[in-house]
């Protein structure tokens, strides 16, 4: 059996970032048209699409990296930002604003955000353009038995100073952890 190199970054397939940006942009714009600019519904749809991606993408992530169960939520967030975002979007967000109980924190996406290039959103406070990311995180974490609320609190597209995603760990689904782990 030919042994592939074990460096994760070198084995990631890459696509043209503009193709990616434009594809995602077309999806969001089409959803806005389909739902008659009902942006709450558009957010829900994006979140649901993200969830469906997340529950599948987690396998890709685990098989390519070999990540093991994290011992704390802090470690989980570290793996997501330093490894997950880097493998799939080639960005490394910052983590801030830990709550004192260590169950919620903010992920701040660095600029330029690969999803946002060229984009100017319609004048509304309701649309969260990158909502799909929240769905992906929620779906992926659910598959590894973490019930987490994910939502946007700030977006530079709306004139905020940064793009910030808030994560809140509700509970660890201990009953669903597969047998055989430590």
């Amino acid at each position: 059996m030919s042994k592939k190199g074990d460096d994760i970054w070198k084995n990631v397939d890459k696509i043209n970032s503009e193709l990616f940006t434009l594809t995602y942009g077309s999806i969001v714009a089409q959803l806005c048209r389909d739902f008659n600019h009902n942006y709450h519904e558009v957010n829900n749809q994006l979140d649901q699409m993200g969830y469906n991606i997340g529950i599948r993408l987690i396998e890709e992530f685990l098989s390519r990296t070999g990540a093991q169960r994290c011992q704390s939520f802090k470690e989980t967030v570290e793996v997501i930002t330093k490894l997950g975002f880097r493998v799939f979007l080639n960005i490394q967000p910052a983590v801030e604003n830990w709550s004192s109980d260590g169950r919620s924190c903010s992920i701040v996406l660095p600029e330029p955000n690969p999803l946002n290039e060229f984009v100017e959103i319609p004048p509304t406070k309701d649309l969260w353009y990158c909502q799909i990311l929240c769905g992906i995180l929620r779906g992926a974490l659910q598959m590894i038995q973490l019930d987490v609320d994910v939502n946007f609190v700030k977006d530079t597209l709306k004139g905020d100073d940064k793009t910030e995603i808030r994560l809140k760990l509700n509970k660890i689904l201990k009953d669903e952890v597969p047998a055989g782990e430590d």
């Binding site: 460096d7 599948r56 570290e78 793996v79 055989g180």
Partner: protein, 172 residues
Amino acid sequence: MKLYSIYILNKAGGLIYQNNLDPSLNRLTANDYLVLAGTLHGVHAIAAKLTPTIVGKDSTSTTSGTDPTANNALLLSTGKVQNSNTNKTGLGSIETDLFNLYVFQSLTGIKFILITSPNPILQKQHEQASETFRHLYVLYSDYVMKDPFYSLDMPIKSQLFDLKVGELAALV
């Protein structure tokens, strides 16, 4: 090492994929395969309960690898692929004169089971099995999880996946 058969179990212990890679094997009925899968799932879980906890902590056998925290720290610092097998205390392998059986479990609870020819040099056999599992898991994430028409936890019908598994088996 020669691959006889591959099983994939969903997290509830249902058989979602079975492939006899050696055409000379006697075939069981579909029902028997399901029973076999269910039994293995149960035995694996029982084995996890039976494992002495003192040994479990610092045993460094080839299938169980290092402890998760060290594994993740290594992953973050080096960017090198680690072993994604999370099967630490459950049934890991059965070695007999007629066949060997290896069990791999992902963090999401999917089990991959390999049945291979016996090999007197067990150490090498373990390494080969773990390498095969790694490739198999990548194939699964590519050709099963990324198939938009595949629904989670359902039997895998993908011919493309069959083909890729066949190619993998030929390389082992």
